[in-house]
């Protein structure tokens, strides 16, 4: 029952995001490069925060390794982004997309904290699959097309394969956790 509820939550989370991002792409004024930089940093920071909760709550070595990987890789991406905006003398600017990502992340964090020990791994990994899919979609369909600065565009294009690798890794874990049950 609990598992089922978790699935509903993940599904709800995913469909909400799938709705919100295209809506914003259509309705909001185009994002400026400083806003895009902000979305990039926020999206990476969110996954680091999820991973930190996983390190506290999971007892599974593979899940912990994955969480450590997320922290290291997403930190590396943020460092690249910060180095670039510093070089370009651009300050990331908060915006509707950053804020909606953060808002949803807050809800997810509450659910991660609440998840029972036995359900945690599955819940975390399912969320990682959904979150990486969502961010890949946002970077490809929203951020890259709207970025004007060539270097920022190239950085985003470099980040997509990393996100896809993380997605593949998360799906691998998801299969393992599912077959274990």
């Amino acid at each position: 029952m609990k598992n089922y509820a978790n699935h509903i939550k993940v599904f709800g989370f995913l469909s909400l995001l799938l709705l919100v991002i295209p809506l914003q792409a259509q309705e909001s004024p185009k994002l400026t490069d400083p806003e895009i930089a902000s979305v990039a940093v926020v999206a990476n920071q969110i996954d680091i925060d999820f991973a930190k909760i996983a390190l506290q709550k999971s007892k599974n070595k593979e899940v912990q390794d994955f969480a450590n990987r997320m922290i290291e890789d997403h930190t590396a991406v943020i460092e690249q982004a910060v180095a670039l905006v510093t070089k370009l003398k651009v300050t990331p600017i908060d915006n509707a997309v950053s804020q909606s990502l953060l808002k949803q992340a807050e809800d997810t964090k509450v659910n991660l904290e609440k998840a029972k020990k036995n359900d945690f791994d599955k819940y975390y990994v399912d969320n990682e699959v959904a979150y990486h899919k969502q961010v890949i979609g946002a970077v490809n369909d929203l951020l890259i097309p709207e970025t004007k600065n060539q270097e920022l565009k190239e950085l985003l294009e470099t980040v997509v394969p990393a996100l896809e690798t993380h997605l593949g890794h998360a799906q691998m874990l998801q299969n393992k956790l599912t077959s274990k049950k």
Partner: protein, 116 residues
């Protein structure tokens, strides 16, 4: 005159044979000298992903990503480079077929085959 010429010819044949054999040997030596192959790790992929080498050749992996990667024996974990960062490299002499991966990002894989 005749015996001398015969003798002279004999010497020439020997000399030419030695030179030819020597040259051939040298040539053989250069083709057998171990070669160095480069695999770039770029955008989360090993490029080229599948490599064919001669036994004893060296493979150098260069990380072009700003994300840490490693090169690790995929099946038995017999050898690993340990993680290395941007523009750093690691090399290994290849003595048998290898299937390897990045143990940090387990979906990144590559193979090396010894040319038969």
């Amino acid at each position: 005159m005749k015996p001398f010429l015969k003798h002279y010819h004999f010497q020439t044949v020997i000399l030419v044979s030695i030179i030819l054999l020597w040259g051939f040997g040298l040539k053989e030596n250069t083709t057998q000298e171990p070669q160095v192959h480069t695999v770039e790790i770029i955008k989360m992929k090993f490029v080229p992903q599948n490599l064919i080498v001669k036994k004893g050749d060296k493979v150098i992996w260069i990380n072009k990503d700003f994300i840490l990667h490693d090169v690790t024996d995929e099946k038995n974990d017999k050898w690993t480079s340990k993680p290395f960062g941007k523009n750093e490299s690691w090399s290994k002499v290849i003595t048998q077929d290898e299937a390897y991966f990045c143990s940090l990002h387990k979906v990144m894989k590559g193979t090396i085959k010894i040319e038969s």
